[in-house]
């Protein structure tokens, strides 16, 4: 029974990951991006749980709970930790218009399929076939980092990049040892907290969080 639906579940989770990444590029509202990020965290946790059940590894199920709590709940909560009314107002004005951005996402996804199939070969496992999604997420994360102007939107780009790396690691190697998984999650959590504090200081200092204002230091 499970063997039959396993490839479909993997495909479903991977599809959800790619869809949320693409939607994040499309939507400009910060609140929507944070909700999509939470959704993406849940999809990633589901992916890990599915792999864990398929391979009969209880360790991976614990890891999926860890991912659910950090990426699905913890980080989005930290990012949205501000009054709902205020956060609804925040609109991003990215450097790319939505059409161009979505077109770029398509190109990046095609590119990652080409790269992964050329370099590693897709193999015949369902996880191998989904692996390019991880690379596409990494590239989309980069796109968000480059094209967004606001501090917190850049932060979301960083997290998409990180989710992409996690996806790729789980799909190619079935996850790293659990102790390291804890260390990785803790590191990401702390980096996000630090950047969040800096974004707060920026708001106090410059009256806004547009990263464009940061151009005092140069040669």
């Amino acid at each position: 029974m499970f063997e039959n639906i396993y490839p479909q579940l993997i495909g479903l989770c991977a599809g959800a990951l790619l869809l949320t990444s693409a939607l994040m590029v499309w939507r400009h509202s910060l609140l929507a991006s944070i909700r999509l990020l939470a959704l993406q965290g849940i999809a990633l946790a589901a992916l890990v749980a599915v792999i864990g059940i398929a391979e009969g590894e209880s360790e991976l199920v614990i890891v999926s709970l860890l991912i659910l709590s950090v990426k699905g709940l913890g980080l989005p909560w930290v990012l949205a930790h501000q009054s709902k009314a205020a956060i609804k107002q925040i609109q991003e004005s990215p450097r790319l218009n939505p059409t161009a951005a979505l077109l770029t996402v398509t190109l990046l996804t095609i590119l990652s399929y080409v790269v992964v199939s050329r370099v590693f070969g897709l193999g015949d496992s369902s996880t191998g076939h989904a692996a390019p999604i991880g690379l596409a997420m990494v590239l989309i994360g980069f796109l968000l980092l480059i094209s967004r102007r606001r501090a917190r939107s850049q932060l979301i780009g960083f997290l998409v990049l990180d989710n992409g790396i996690a996806t790729l690691t789980f799909l190619t190697s079935g996850g790293v040892p659990i102790l390291l998984e804890f260390a990785f999650s803790l590191d990401v959590l702390l980096v996000v907290l630090i950047l969040h504090v800096f974004a707060g200081r920026m708001r106090n200092k410059f009256g806004g969080t547009a990263v464009d204002q940061l151009r005092e230091l140069h040669d």
Partner: protein, 482 residues
């Protein structure tokens, strides 16, 4: 014996806790010094153990000190001691709450670097390198000005993205090992020759991991965070970051290289690191010529030296003893220079080179050590940087990389000229005629760490036993023969 492995991790953590718990006390300012001393002492103990043929292990093989790790941990301790001791804050200013978190973060930073060089797992090493970013983020933004905030933001974003790319590479390396009988991230096991790792995965993984750690090591073209962060951080932090954090990232590259060399041969990473190294030298040369800020000048000098070290790593085993000696010499001298630059900044109130004139006449107490350290950093003998540079260039020549080291030599000459001009501008000349002054012989801080650092760098190249033996042993570790 194994307990020594835990000292550089536990002692700084305990001291960090102490700094936070201690009430407003003047003792707090010694936390950084105490933490570095603990790291240095355990490093020296590990070195003596390694020289006696032991390889201490602990934590189920997670911590391991071979000759290379023992050497690196001693460097972390030594440079840390110079930076924290030289940058000791005054008793009055150490009573504040800000000072408590500052000292605690310095101690955490030292613990993270120690873990990075002691971990026998590229995963744990990665986590520790990322932890150094976390510990230094608030240290870079310590002054809370708009500029330091900008520097800190760039540093954390670029540093974390770079290190995240390294994680992707490590993921690939792990995926390669999952294909074998023993899935592992231990570099000891991964650098054994008969594992049968998948070359495609190792190539992609090695390239990404080296690219990621090169960001942290400040190699061009991923260097843009470095001059900002190193010029805005408080002087001891700049000294620690320039002096050892960059080298710890280079250490990570060395470990990755020892894995990829066995599977795909040295050519691939050699090309990558040569390009990165030459680009770094080029960036440093072009931006040093017209540099106006002396702390940024020191930051670009770090990019230059990391570039040359990367070329040394690209050359391979013949150049590695020189590279490792370079790590120590550059660390000590750069920490000294940043400490003195902090004192000049404090007393002169300006980071602009053209505003600081005639330092040798007005403030000989600062100008004399500054001049000596500058001579050391541009590569005058008897300081060890000279011997390291010559060693790398000779090794490159005989390894058939004559073109690369030739180009590097030309760029080094440009950098030498730029440095000389800037230093002369700062120190020589007479003061403005209508201003009365009395020569200031004060060193504006502890003299001893500066003297110790200069003396150590001037003599270390001549000590064949035990330094030479240790460096050769460390090189042997990377060749996979230990």
């Amino acid at each position: 014996m194994t307990i020594i492995l835990w000292i550089p991790l536990v002692a700084p953590l305990a001291l960090a806790g102490l700094s936070l718990l201690l009430g407003p006390s003047a003792l707090r300012r010694f936390v950084g010094v105490a933490a570095s001393s603990a790291v240095l002492i355990s490093g020296l103990l590990l070195v003596s153990a390694v020289l006696n043929g032991a390889v201490p292990e602990s934590g189920g093989g997670l911590l391991r000190a071979d000759a290379l790790s023992a050497y690196m941990i001693s460097v972390v301790g030594a440079v840390g001691l110079i930076a924290t001791w030289g940058g000791l804050s005054s008793a009055a200013s150490s009573r504040t709450k800000v000072a408590a978190s500052y000292e605690a973060l310095i101690a955490l930073f030292l613990a993270a670097m120690s873990l990075a060089v002691l971990a026998d797992s590229i995963g744990l090493m990665w986590a520790a390198v990322e932890a150094t970013t976390i510990a230094t983020a608030f240290l870079v933004g310590h002054h809370r000005t708009g500029r330091s905030l900008e520097a800190a933001w760039k540093y954390v974003i670029l540093g974390s993205v770079g290190v995240a790319i390294a994680l992707l590479g490590i993921g690939f390396i792990y995926a390669a090992s999952v294909g074998t009988d023993t899935p592992t991230l231990s570099w000891l096991l991964l650098s054994q020759s008969n594992l049968g790792l998948d070359p495609a995965l190792i190539t992609a993984g090695g390239a990404l991991a080296v690219l990621g750690f090169a960001t942290k090591a400040g190699l061009a073209p991923m260097h843009s965070w470095l001059p900002d962060a190193h010029s805005q951080a408080p002087a001891p932090v700049s000294g620690l970051m320039s002096g050892v954090l960059l080298s710890v990232a280079l250490y990570a590259i060395l470990r990755i290289q020892s894995i990829t060399n066995l599977v795909i041969g040295p050519e691939f990473l050699r090309t990558m690191l040569s390009i990165g190294g030459l680009l770094s030298l080029l960036v440093a040369a072009s931006l040093l010529i017209r540099q106006r800020d002396y702390k940024r000048m020191l930051a670009y000098s770090s990019i230059e030296h990391m570039g040359l070290m990367a070329i040394g790593v690209a050359i391979g085993p013949a150049a590695l003893p020189s590279v490792l000696l370079y790590v120590l010499g550059h660390g000590l001298i750069k920490a000294t220079l940043f400490v003195i630059s902090g004192r000049i900044l404090k007393i002169e109130g300006t980071p602009v080179i053209s505003d600081v004139r005639a330092l040798l006449v007005r403030r000989p107490g600062l100008a004399v050590p500054w001049l000596i350290a500058m001579a050391a950093i541009v590569g005058f003998p008897p300081f060890s940087i000279f011997f390291s540079e010559v060693g790398i260039i000779m090794a490159g020549w005989s390894a058939g990389l004559g073109g690369v080291v030739g180009a590097a030599l030309v760029l080094l000459l440009v950098i030498f000229a730029a440095f000389t001009r800037l230093t002369v501008q700062m120190t020589l000349g007479g003061p403005a005629k209508d201003v009365a002054f009395t020569p200031d012989y004060s060193a504006h801080g502890p003299r001893l760490p500066i003297i110790l650092a200069l003396a150590a760098t001037a003599t270390v190249a001549f000590v064949a036993e035990p330094v030479g033996t240790l460096l050769l042993q460390a090189t042997a570790v990377l060749g996979g023969s230990n």
